[in-house]
């Protein structure tokens, strides 16, 4: 029973990171119908930047803030420079461009920082929490991870709901052509979407790297799990992405805990295959309004 609780709690912690990645993918997907394969690589790069700043200044939070800002800027830059030309083109063009970006960013990281594994500091202690004398399998940093992702998701939801920029983002996601007719500068809206996605990705990189080490490919598997979480949530729904991340995190934690940790990636792929086969619109797709 204690084991089950431990697996659940640590699953929620990892799931929060998958949720952040999933949310960033959904943001981009809703605006541009593009799956950004470079999302994980960009997050890896901003985490390296955080590491440099932490070493230079000695302050974790300075590195944290710079990485988030860098994510914002990289996301916007990627949209303006390489994505803009393939928007509205056949989907394969965008797939090739974002995979190209993935290879480029990981290659650059290898050239600049080398391939060795580096440890990345955590914001809070990673010693395990205990309830009485029983270890819970999580630390204060895990608590921070979950709270940070939930806060980011809530801020995003409020921004969508209560600001004119959020209104324009939602309108563009539903119909860019009509939004343009109504005077929305769709290009700027898409840039904003990519910038926010870059910020969420950077957050995910900061939160996961203390447990995975940092190296040029360190975010690859996190990206795959984040994508799986987004698919579980239906790719179009921010709330679904968060729920999908938490569900996937817990399921993978059970798989790793009860079946063996070497099976975690395999379990992730099995879940992805099952969802795509039986619920391709996501677990939460209810009765859909017919598109006319």
């Amino acid at each position: 029973m204690l084991e089950f609780l431990q697996f659940t709690l640590s699953g929620i912690s990892f799931g929060a990171v998958y949720a952040a990645v999933a949310l960033s993918l959904v943001l981009i997907w809703r605006g541009t119908r593009i799956l950004n394969f470079a999302q994980g690589a960009m997050a890896m790069f901003t985490t390296y930047i955080a590491l440099e700043v932490i070493r230079g200044t000695g302050s974790y939070w300075a590195g944290f803030a710079v990485a988030l800002a860098a994510g914002l800027v990289f996301g916007a830059l990627a949209e303006v420079t390489v994505i803009r030309p393939v928007e509205g083109k056949p989907p394969l063009n965008a797939v090739i461009v974002t995979i190209g970006l993935l290879v480029l960013v990981e290659g650059l990281a290898g050239i600049i920082y080398g391939g060795q594994y580096r440890s990345f500091p955590a914001a809070f202690t990673v010693t395990g929490l205990r309830a009485g004398r029983s270890p819970l399998g999580i630390s204060w940093f895990d608590v921070f991870t979950v709270l940070a992702v939930l806060a980011a998701a809530a801020a995003l939801a409020a921004g969508f709901r209560y600001t004119t920029a959020g209104l324009r983002l939602r309108a563009t996601a539903f119909d860019a052509r009509i939004a343009r007719l109504l005077g929305v500068r769709v290009g700027r809206v898409l840039t904003l979407g990519w910038a926010l996605a870059g910020l969420l990705g950077a957050l995910a990189g900061l939160l996961i790297s203390p447990s995975t080490f940092l190296y040029p490919n360190s975010m690859d598997s996190i990206f795959v799990f984040g994508f799986t979480a987004a698919v579980i949530g239906g790719l179009d729904s921010p709330a679904g992405a968060v729920a999908g991340g938490l569900i996937l995190g817990v399921l993978l934690s059970y798989a790793g805990g009860y079946l063996g940790s070497e099976l975690t990636p395999l379990a992730g792929l099995v879940i992805l295959a099952l969802v795509l086969t039986f619920r391709p619109d996501g677990l939460f797709a209810g009765v859909r309004l017919r598109r006319v």
Partner: protein
């Protein structure tokens, strides 16, 4: 009816070709401020194409469109909204996942100030804009009689109400030129009178170009009519003149029809009835070619 200085909208020699098909062929007319201009013609005559040119969706191959002295033909659609050109779409064209009031707020957004960086840096300001837009949107919904639907999503609303929301969305931009694509289609008879009143009310502040197949309604609402057939203007003038024009009857009933001849003599009334029947037929067909 060529461009003259009294017009707010001048359409001058507009030609649009899609491959080998000439959809519009040297179309010219003008719209005066506070005038309601009706655009009629058989199905496929190029009416919606012309609206698409006026709102910037399509750039004409030849010719110019001037609005309040500015050339529109080279501007992207979002700039036109800022200049005061708004339109409704055939069908409804609302954002499915947004509530009615949010839909209308997007219509008013071209006058909101917060752009990219203010939206990021000054979320409070963007929030104030949001409340102002919401108030304006509710006002527009009241004007079209759809205020009760404000917090519902389009899918939950009956067709007539959705059309009112779409109209409110166009009005929220406070347009100086409003383009209406089939505003009366699918409405019940008792809703048509209300729509006519609303159009008259809007015309107190803006010029309107209306495309509609419902001929009786157009006759009662429009100050002048332009008749298109195969992309060409075949008649224009007051509703009465146009109704009596044999070329118009011929276009609706077919060029070799005898109706064109009977139109001149004793059969004026008969002519009108025949035309209406044909027009309604065209209206049914038009529902297939949605935006």
């Amino acid at each position: 009816m060529n461009a003259d200085s009294g017009s707010v909208l001048d359409v001058d020699g507009v030609t649009v070709r899609f491959g080998g098909l000439t959809a519009l062929d040297g179309v010219s007319f003008g719209v005066a401020p506070r005038q309601v201009l009706g655009l009629i013609g058989p199905n496929g005559a190029g009416k919606t194409t012309l609206l698409n040119v006026l709102c910037g969706f399509i750039r004409p191959n030849e010719g110019r469109v001037r609005f309040a002295g500015r050339e529109l033909t080279r501007l992207p659609p979002h700039r036109l909204a800022g200049l005061g050109v708004a339109r409704t779409l055939q069908g409804v064209g609302l954002f499915a996942g947004l509530t009615a009031v949010e839909n209308v707020m997007v219509g008013a957004n071209c006058r909101a100030s917060a752009g990219f960086w203010p939206a990021l840096a000054g979320l409070p300001r963007s929030g104030r804009d949001e409340r102002r837009l919401r108030a304006e949107a509710l006002e527009a919904l009241r004007q079209t009689g759809a205020a009760a639907a404000a917090d519902r999503k389009p899918g939950e609303l009956p067709y007539g109400v959705r059309k009112r929301v779409a109209l409110a969305r166009a009005l929220a931009a406070r347009p100086r030129l409003l383009l209406l694509d089939e505003p009366a289609s699918g409405l019940a008879d008792d809703e048509l009178a209300g729509l006519a009143d609303l159009v008259t009310q809007i015309a107190a502040q803006a010029a309107l170009v209306v495309v509609e197949h419902h001929m009786d309604w157009m006759m009662s609402v429009c100050d002048s009519l332009v008749v298109l057939d195969f992309g060409k203007v075949i008649a224009s003038g007051s509703p009465k003149d146009v109704q009596a024009d044999p070329a118009v009857t011929a276009a609706y009933l077919g060029a070799d029809g005898e109706a064109a001849e009977t139109g001149t003599g004793d059969g004026a009334a008969q002519n009108a009835t025949g035309e209406r029947a044909a027009v309604n037929g065209a209206g049914d067909g038009a529902r297939d070619n949605d935006e």
